[in-house]
Symmetry: C2
Subunit: 358 residues, 2 copies
Amino acid sequence: MYQYNYLFDFTRSVFMKMGCSENDSIIIANVFLAAELRGHASHGMIRIMDYYELWKAKRINTTPLVKIVHESPSTAVVDGDNAVGMIAARRSMEIAIEKAEKAGTGWVATRNSNHFGIAGYYSMMALEHDMIGICMTNANPLVAPTFSISRMMGTNPIAVAIPAMNQPPFIADFATTPIARGKLAVAEKKGEKVPFGFVQDKDGSPSDDPTILKRGGSMLTLGGDRLHGSHKGYCLSAIVDIFSAVFSGANFGPFVPPSVAFLPVPDKKTGEGTGHFFGAMRIDAFQPANEFKAKMDEWIETFRSAKPAKDQERVLIPGDPERESEERIMREGIDLVPAIREDLIEIAEKLKIDFVIS
Amino acid sequence: MYQYNYLFDFTRSVFMKMGCSENDSIIIANVFLAAELRGHASHGMIRIMDYYELWKAKRINTTPLVKIVHESPSTAVVDGDNAVGMIAARRSMEIAIEKAEKAGTGWVATRNSNHFGIAGYYSMMALEHDMIGICMTNANPLVAPTFSISRMMGTNPIAVAIPAMNQPPFIADFATTPIARGKLAVAEKKGEKVPFGFVQDKDGSPSDDPTILKRGGSMLTLGGDRLHGSHKGYCLSAIVDIFSAVFSGANFGPFVPPSVAFLPVPDKKTGEGTGHFFGAMRIDAFQPANEFKAKMDEWIETFRSAKPAKDQERVLIPGDPERESEERIMREGIDLVPAIREDLIEIAEKLKIDFVIS
């Protein structure tokens, strides 16, 4: 088990050794550790090796100049200068919040960025400003549209954070596929099958094989099949892709560059890097903030008191599981699986940083 | 078979007889007929009886004063004055477009409204202004959150319309449930079962019975069950509810009033009427409009040329099925099922309007 602060300091040191400023390294460590705390280890320490390899391959810029390239009172397009995704994303969300202060809402499309960790992190930045925060990103293609076997889209997540008064905030943060890709890797490592409805084989037949992506298979969109609404998951994922990439001038759909160095950059470019989209909506551009937040308390209490189905203990509010995970992991520590520990040991040796096996 | 113009004129006459202005009646007829043309008959002529009954019960205002009650440069809250939903919704979307002209984007939350037909109609209003249009609405509760058996949410649709250059626009318009409620009614009339994953019984057990809602059952969110991501459908539906109702001051979740007169208005109110949410994003607040639209052509062509799965002919772009339906129905006419024809005959008699049996 590792304490939060230990892994935070380690992560900051790794990125400083790779040439990031101390400020940037702190931002990056914050986002990685937020993923661990919130129970999304698939977006946490496991990704540091990916970034290290991208840096070694000179495919990422650790001294970027993130800047606005186009704007209106409530919008901006940001060029991330091929930064570590967290740096481009955090600055973009700050700009969305600044726009919202003046115009009521702020909307930023970001190009030339990279994998940014958990979308929820940036949406939550809005909460302390009494704003609703929105974040989405495209990602390297693994997912087939309805009726197709071509990998055209990423797992393209959407995050929305909404403040309340005495209740904890409503925080939705979800991929537009039935599962995150990480769950396939976990099932593969355990030698288990996955339920039908997550993936299909190279011909488009249903599959329960978590390794099928290695043999021409693809992930399915939320809904699973056409009968159960996969075309709605396809719509959602496509909207995320268009807002993130076509608004910003990033690569869209099948042309999004991979977030790992062992995969080549696609030959064809339709823009610059990976794309994100951010929104901030000032509550009091709609309702007095205290009235809105009191109403959100009422909303949350109403939904939390919905009647559970048989065999279920309780009905959850979006954000409940992650908040409970945060409290538990902050108390108990972060448990790294051996493969990730070995990655971190290797990085520590190469970059001459201490890393204790714990 | 009925020609478009015949049913358009009839619908306009019905609403004029109910006291709506000619302008308002034309708007209402436009939206009803757009639903028929786009293949969403569940939101078309079948709903006229519902509005007629609400009007007879004095539960709807046919001479409303729809007005802005709060605003910022990029936002407004609109009070629909208990109007026919189309009137409040169309005016709200116009305001969103006006805001976007100046501030880059415009966002309007509307309260004190009623059922507004198809969400896609309002999102498409943005297209001719070179804007992206967004529309969502809450609706009377039929849907249970994940792990629950309580009907807490409507089928809460989301519509997003995105312009292209030479390609037809991208138009997504979908309920945040696997199916629209109308499909249950169709299966019931045919005496057929429905696939598992659409509804559950009063205890939360899977059901294939389309009549289960009459015996304490509920609809499921997109995803179907927790394993396949129903919590993501729950997040989406909840976001639609909060944006539509908490931002605007309408009734949220289980307190949304029914859109039919034979169901009583809930005892408890958490706001005024039904709530909607509208967005307009000026393309050139992000990219020169022609560059964006050319890139959308490329996006659409790329996705349309994705490889179909075996047994599939082609991969669709959101909006393709509805556009093809429009072309076909405009040519062939609108086929009303006997039950709807009888409703219209009854309304015609009561309001002293001609209606030909065709």
